[in-house]
């Protein structure tokens, strides 16, 4: 560009640049407009309604009442615990599982492309519809899970997978692992492919076996990728609520209520969050939830940086 413009007389260069600048702004205009509306505007809106009592029709300024309520809200604290519980169990299962699968599928195994494709299929379909399918599977009287367990003579009980306080988290986490495994497999595969073959070849010459390869080469070489994947997995798990909304709506008796599902139910009204539409309070809970996620992310980044030193 420099070579070109300096060859021209100065005046026409300037006017051409000015015309180009106008074009740039016109081309960026739709993006900037949508960005302001979809991303920035909700922030300003929430900053205002945190201080209001608002049911969708009438609003009252109530100062800091929403924050006082938040500190005493047992349901909110429960939802934090459930979010952490869900994220923790999802992560400690899905990450090692995806790592093992991807290591196997990165080897010279016959049929690896078939397996890769099959394991990725659940991630391409709608998580909401997949949750509906699991809702059928888990159904105590008509579902195929109990039907299969009965037919195999494992148990004759009609287990209420989503209605029992002890089982509901397990059922939800299983659904989440089913839907997410393929994503993490593909991410790990990309990381594995960046490890040069020559390292494995030389370790073979030194007489290392596959297990040693895995622990002394693969894991250390994957660390930078692992950090990114873990960060992605943590933030995704903390924000998940769509699948839970379809499976249980937060039930039974709030046992599977997570932070953003609670926010949604406050914003649009639901018997699991007190029934009425409580937008002001929903905005407050939403802000608190976002801050909790941000805090966990920062702690994670700090720890992963410290581990490097």
């Amino acid at each position: 560009m420099i070579a070109l413009t300096s060859a021209k007389p100065k005046n026409s260069m300037k006017s051409a640049m000015r015309k180009d600048n106008l074009t740039v702004w016109l081309m960026l205009a739709p993006t900037l407009f949508l960005f302001l509306v979809v991303s920035v505007y909700p922030f300003l809106w929430i900053a205002r309604y945190m201080f209001y009592d608002y049911n969708g029709f009438v609003e009252y300024y109530i100062g800091l009442d929403n924050f006082r309520r938040l500190l005493a809200d047992k349901l909110f604290f429960k939802s934090i615990i459930h979010t952490l519980e869900y994220s923790f169990y999802k992560l400690i299962t899905i990450i090692p599982l995806a790592l093992i699968v991807s290591v196997l599928l990165n080897s010279k195994l016959k049929g690896k492309n078939f397996f890769r494709t099959v394991f990725f299929v659940p991630t391409v379909i709608s998580a909401a519809v997949a949750s509906l399918v699991f809702y059928f599977i888990y159904s105590p009287y008509n579902g195929i899970l109990n039907g299969t367990l009965n037919a195999l003579q494992i148990t004759q009980a009609k287990i209420d997978w989503l209605g029992s306080a002890n089982l509901v988290m397990l059922s939800i986490i299983f659904t989440a692992i089913w839907g997410g495994l393929g994503n993490y497999m593909v991410l790990f595969l990309a990381g594995l492919q960046s490890i040069p073959d020559s390292i494995y070849e030389s370790s073979r010459i030194d007489g290392a076996n596959r297990l040693q390869d895995f622990f002394y080469i693969t894991i250390p070489m994957l660390r930078p990728v692992m950090k990114v994947i873990l960060m992605l997995a943590i933030t995704t798990a903390l924000k998940d609520y769509q699948s839970i909304m379809v499976l249980t709506g937060g039930g039974p008796a709030g046992r599977s209520q997570v932070m953003f599902l609670y926010v949604y139910q406050l914003m649009f009204g639901n018997e699991n969050a007190g029934g009425a539409v409580q937008i002001g309070y929903g905005a407050t809970v939403g802000l608190a939830s976002s801050l909790i996620i941000a805090l966990i992310t920062v702690i994670y980044l700090y720890l992963s940086k410290k581990m490097d030193d």
């Binding site: 560009m1 070579a3 180009d20 074009t23 081309m27 993006t31 900037l32 960005f35 509306v37 979809v38 991303s39 920035v40 505007y41 909700p42 922030f43 809106w45 929430i46 699968v101 196997l104 599928l105 397996f115 494709t117 394991f119 299929v121 659940p122 391409v124 379909i125 709608s126 909401a128 519809v129 997949a130 399918v133 059928f136 008509n142 579902g143 195929i144 109990n146 039907g147 299969t148 089913w178 994503n183 593909v186 991410l187 990309a190 990381g191 596959r210 990114v228 992605l232 924000k239 609520y241 379809v246 953003f260 599902l261 926010v263 949604y264 914003m267 649009f268 939403g286 976002s290 941000a294």
Partner: protein, 284 residues
């Protein structure tokens, strides 16, 4: 030597057993719903362990299509997904081009904000303000609010992808075209756009899939407008409306209608899908 060979074979066998069990687990729910959609409602409600239908019927689809409004839902899904895809392709390619090839005031600030907001996700929090905004501008009776919000939410990631890909295209191309008298927009339209095809193919697939699978956003915006629902919202809404197991057959057929087209699309283009995932996530 021989024991080593046997040991080696055993570890492969274990790997295959593990992978095959996992394959069954991954495919079972999909087979269950697809095959179940050909069962009678009686058979579905009976439960049991049988995967294949006893009598194979198509009636569920006819019923869903004619009585349960699924023809409408399918059209809505196709409309939303196509529009979101086209919108994202246009916006991300234009903006990615501008960010990659031109310096302008506040460029780094604007780009930084776009990327920052991509990470600062506030989940369900922003649905309410956008819902009220769309009512104020009378967009809530059409699907345009859903489409515009979907584009706005997804654009940052895709601009990032295009910008990254642009950096691999030599700048000499632009310069040569400019010498020949091509304008800034002309270079985009005639030179850059054709060269962006590979990355745009990935973006098209991922954005189509994203919009096709979206649930909560269209749920909120079609709450008072059942005729505008896409498949996801249409089929899941039956769960809450119907009493007990009355409409299982319709829901199975509806779920299959939502799942199968996207799986077929994926099987035809799996390479783009999977590579798109990694570019978007690892580098993003």
């Amino acid at each position: 030597m021989k024991t080593k060979k046997i040991k080696f074979k055993f570890s492969w066998l274990a790997a295959y057993v593990f992978l095959i069990i996992l394959t069954i687990l991954m495919l079972y729910p999909i087979l269950y719903v697809v095959l179940g959609s050909f069962k009678t409602n009686q058979e579905l409600v009976m439960g049991g362990a049988r995967l294949l239908p006893e009598v194979f019927i198509l009636n569920n689809y006819i019923e869903a299509w004619e009585l349960a409004n699924f023809a409408r839902y399918t059209l809505n899904s196709i409309f939303i997904s196509s529009m979101v895809m086209i919108g994202i392709l246009i916006l991300s390619s234009m903006s990615g081009y501008c960010f990659a090839r031109r310096d302008f005031p506040l460029k780094n600030f604007i780009y930084g904000m776009l990327i920052a907001f991509m990470f600062v996700n506030i989940g369900s929090v922003s649905l309410r303000p956008l819902f009220e905004l769309s009512i104020r501008f009378n967009l809530h009776t059409s699907l345009w609010a859903v489409i515009l919000i979907s584009i706005g939410t997804a654009q940052a990631t895709n601009i990032f992808l295009v910008r990254g890909y642009m950096n691999t295209l030599p700048k000499e191309l632009d310069e040569a075209a400019a010498i020949d008298g091509c304008s800034f927009f002309g270079i985009y339209y005639r030179i850059i756009l054709p060269l962006l095809k590979p990355v745009l193919a990935t973006i098209a697939l991922l954005s189509f899939r994203g919009a096709w699978n979206e649930y909560i956003l269209p749920l909120v915006f079609t709450i008072n407008n059942p005729d505008k629902r896409p498949l996801t919202v249409g089929v899941i809404s039956l769960k809450n409306v119907s009493d007990g197991a009355a409409a299982w057959n319709i829901m199975f057929a509806g779920s299959t209608m939502s799942i199968v087209p996207i799986i077929i699309l994926f099987l035809l283009t799996s390479r783009y899908f999977m590579s798109g995932m990694t570019v978007g996530a690892v580098k993003g």
